[in-house]
Symmetry: C2
Subunit: 314 residues, 2 copies
Amino acid sequence: MDFTIQILGSGAAVPTLKRNPSAQFVDCLNRHILIDCAEGTQHLLRKNGVKIQKIQIILISHLHGDHYFGLVGLISTMHLLGRTSGLTIYGPKELEQIIRMQLEVGGHRMGFDIHFEVLDTKGKIQIFEDSKIKIHTFPLKHRIPTFGFLIEENSKGYNLNIPLLEEDKIPVVYYDKLKGGNDVVLDDDRLIRFKKYTTPPSATRSYAYCSDTKYDENLVSIIENVTVLYHEATFLNDMQSRAKATYHSTAREASLIAKKSKAKHLILGHFSARYHHADAHLTEARTEFDSVFSAEDGRIFSIKRDLDLKLLQE
Amino acid sequence: MDFTIQILGSGAAVPTLKRNPSAQFVDCLNRHILIDCAEGTQHLLRKNGVKIQKIQIILISHLHGDHYFGLVGLISTMHLLGRTSGLTIYGPKELEQIIRMQLEVGGHRMGFDIHFEVLDTKGKIQIFEDSKIKIHTFPLKHRIPTFGFLIEENSKGYNLNIPLLEEDKIPVVYYDKLKGGNDVVLDDDRLIRFKKYTTPPSATRSYAYCSDTKYDENLVSIIENVTVLYHEATFLNDMQSRAKATYHSTAREASLIAKKSKAKHLILGHFSARYHHADAHLTEARTEFDSVFSAEDGRIFSIKRDLDLKLLQE
């Protein structure tokens, strides 16, 4: 099953002709998640052929406009196009009032339920889990309350050696226990060691979204061993003092977080409009970390089963 | 001096790949006015090369999202790009709270003053006047409180016959009174009849914006003799019952308002996304009224001194 990240907006603060501000569409094992929703996100979803009604979960990192001003328009369009299935939105506490006020003033009787969950944590907490994936949130260090997200596929457990299980006539009913790493005792009193019949679990894929934030080493343990880290790199290192003052990061700082957290791959984004392209950000980050990509509007990344990161669409 | 109307968005309700929802940039004698501001308007202003900091006045017709969801983003970008000059926004009463709440939550200390004026009238009232132009608002008939706008250049008064005035040695100090259509008595007791020294005032140019509204003959006297009428034409006449039910108009109804109000030209817009182009709207409207244009994103219309309407940019 696929695990893809589609960059809808890769710029900071104001839209330019090349970059829209933050928004990403994540498909994790057919769970369809929108992370942040700058003004114009619904236009970009349409342009990129993403069916908006598929979106089940929206994660809003913080209430600077370049991360959520497109949310009310997206919701309104979902309604106007006949949506009936519910939508869950995770975001800072004022978000619900902002959205509901605008929907009420417009006089719409919404055709679907919107469920708001308030983000408000000082540590890493789980906010969503189902049979396939889970989502955690954690605080970032920005000028207003801001939250990062970690989306992971669930482990499928130990891999069963089916031919051997069949040869030894182990009933299928015990397979789940063995997958979970448990020894079992059969009705005929045979003790079955899971290690004999399984190989270790395959690696699980994960994606961490860290924008907007200043350099913060607290992130290292929170996202340790993440497969792909998206980390903001608003500035280059020659503007480190500006980054610090505005609670943003440089490309070098992003790469240090990737290195220290033992991420497999790093995607840089949230580039200031002063940069016409991300070449210098890539060069700077690669002095500390090998596998670095830049977020570019329209790009689709795919996290492969073997934890490689492929660019599916430029 | 120019009087131009730049169509930024010509569609209804939801953005499509061809049409953004409502927004127009009007330059009336160097007064820079934005009418409505759908999501994505700031993108389209940038794409069309309009400098956003020029905008002095914003008129918001009503609080359906396709007419104002881009306003907070535009204001935010004005701030981030260093605006210091004030901005006046005319709109329904809840608009101020909606905008201010979002700016406050974002933690911005705005670099310029925003002055909100509440629209709330049952008749035609003047909301703005300076030395060159005036703006009136008036109620439209829609599902929620909605207002139309009439932007007019001020009359320059009677045209002076300068050679004759000089020949008869009329002091320049009396020219303004004569332009205003007043007879004057000179210090030497000569009675000067204005009619002898002037010709009648040139025609003044005007633009009426009527969206969204059902067919409403009350508009006829309000916009009588307007030079250019923009009237919504969400539907074609075969969907008149749907237009009525949703408080919208058909192309034929728009043309009837243009004819009855003795407008010189009609621009149709706010087309439902079900129509791929406006050909049928134009055909339908032309059965009742001659000079009909369709609003298309990016088009610039110029109202000429002789009251002709020219398409400056397709």
